[in-house]
Subunit: 245 residues, 2 copies
């Protein structure tokens, strides 16, 4: 009940397969009676388990919703002057229709198509020549290649899968790139926690707001879910139910 | 480091976006020096934490790899006469080039394009009229619609996201549908654990091998990872490094 997929953003090549995505089931974009009942009950359960006071709490709630684990709320980290800062920055970027740039296809497929007009791009598929020449991972090379094109400046930069993409993004920030917000939750036993730690340090040094987690867990579903929550906060700001400071 | 995405199966409509997927980074399909080093180290770490004796152990290992959590090995359930049975059934289905059918786009995006010639389909996008008429979720309606077309018989049926899709699949099995194997790991607080429990009961009653988990956790990345491990077992059987009984 936790990931949402939606239509491909307008600037993406769109085949028959992509068109189908507009039919996608989505928790908070639920469109049928059953789906809406389940989504409502599910978030009610989460709100019993996670505080519901701040914008950062909404991200904590979503992390619990996406992982199915109440303990995950304690693993989320917010880089900024206040915990709300990356949430506000992300919602503002969504309202400004800035690109949402994911590391891999699976994360892109999890980004909702409703409630925003941001182009949604993935890094993977770019920079293959660089990867072949250097031996670096294709995701890392793809991040460096998109960065060279200026794609990450003022973007919502999302890393759900590849620690090397997170490390590459950290390098880009050190070199002057300024995403509007970073959402990074790569999972695994090798470099995942370390890559998020490095992103937090670099983001803090250079004033880039970031939402990450500690520990080995994480993944594509979590990254997509947290990014979708930024979209929901932006929608609530548009409706006037949330005030962005 | 845990999810893999690959090229779209040959029978799918393939736009420019899909073509990019052949570039996808993938842990065990890693193609650059860095990616291969990380994938190898990562699986070495997992093998220190999970037994490495049976085919079922390979699925347990993959669950730990996909979730980043050593404890997850104890949450996987195998429905069949022996724990290996659903793994063998899945690998045989992959070798027979049977369709891999996922619930949503995100899970489909996580299925590796390497090491198999199975068509990869998603349910979502079908059955929208049924959903509108009945109020059931779009994913549930999409499973029922594909089942009406006979798509699930002898297929690798994968549910990563939607409990209602898992429940619909259980109904189809009760009504006579016989997937080669079911992989079901929907996540969440409402109906997720219950839907897997019902799938296990129905699968056991009707002799359908199944790989599921207990508890609230799970998700698209896990479902894709476990399905990819069936592909890897099939590849190993083809190479002669694994014997399918």
């Amino acid at each position: 009940m936790t990931t949402e997929s939606g239509e491909t953003a307008p600037d993406e090549a769109s085949g028959a397969d992509d068109a189908d995505d507009t039919e996608e089931y989505a928790d908070l974009g639920a469109t049928t009676a059953d789906a809406m009942a389940i989504a409502e009950t599910s978030m009610d359960r989460v709100r019993e388990l996670v505080p519901d006071e701040t914008l950062a709490d909404r991200i904590r709630q979503k992390s619990v919703h996406a992982t199915g684990d109440p303990e995950f709320q304690h693993l989320v980290r917010f880089t900024g002057e206040r915990a709300d800062e990356p949430v506000v920055a992300g919602a503002r970027a969504v309202r400004a229709e800035r690109p949402i740039v994911t590391d891999i296809t699976m994360v892109k497929a999890g980004i909702t198509g409703r409630g925003h007009d941001c182009p949604v791009r993935k890094a993977i598929g770019n920079g293959s020549e660089l990867a072949e020449r250097t031996g670096m991972t294709r995701t890392a090379a793809s991040v460096l290649e998109l960065d060279r094109e200026g794609v990450y400046d003022d973007a919502v930069a999302v890393v759900g899968n590849a620690p090397t993409a997170a490390l590459a993004l950290a390098d880009c920030i050190e070199d002057g790139t300024r995403p509007a917000v970073v959402v990074a939750t790569p999972v695994g036993f090798v470099k995942a926690a370390e890559s998020r730690q490095r992103l937090r340090e670099v983001a803090a040094s250079h004033g880039v707001p970031a939402i990450t987690n500690v520990g080995r867990r994480g993944g594509s579903g979590l990254a997509a879910g947290l990014t979708n929550e930024l979209v929901h906060v932006a929608s609530d700001a548009r409706d006037g139910t949330v005030q962005l400071p």
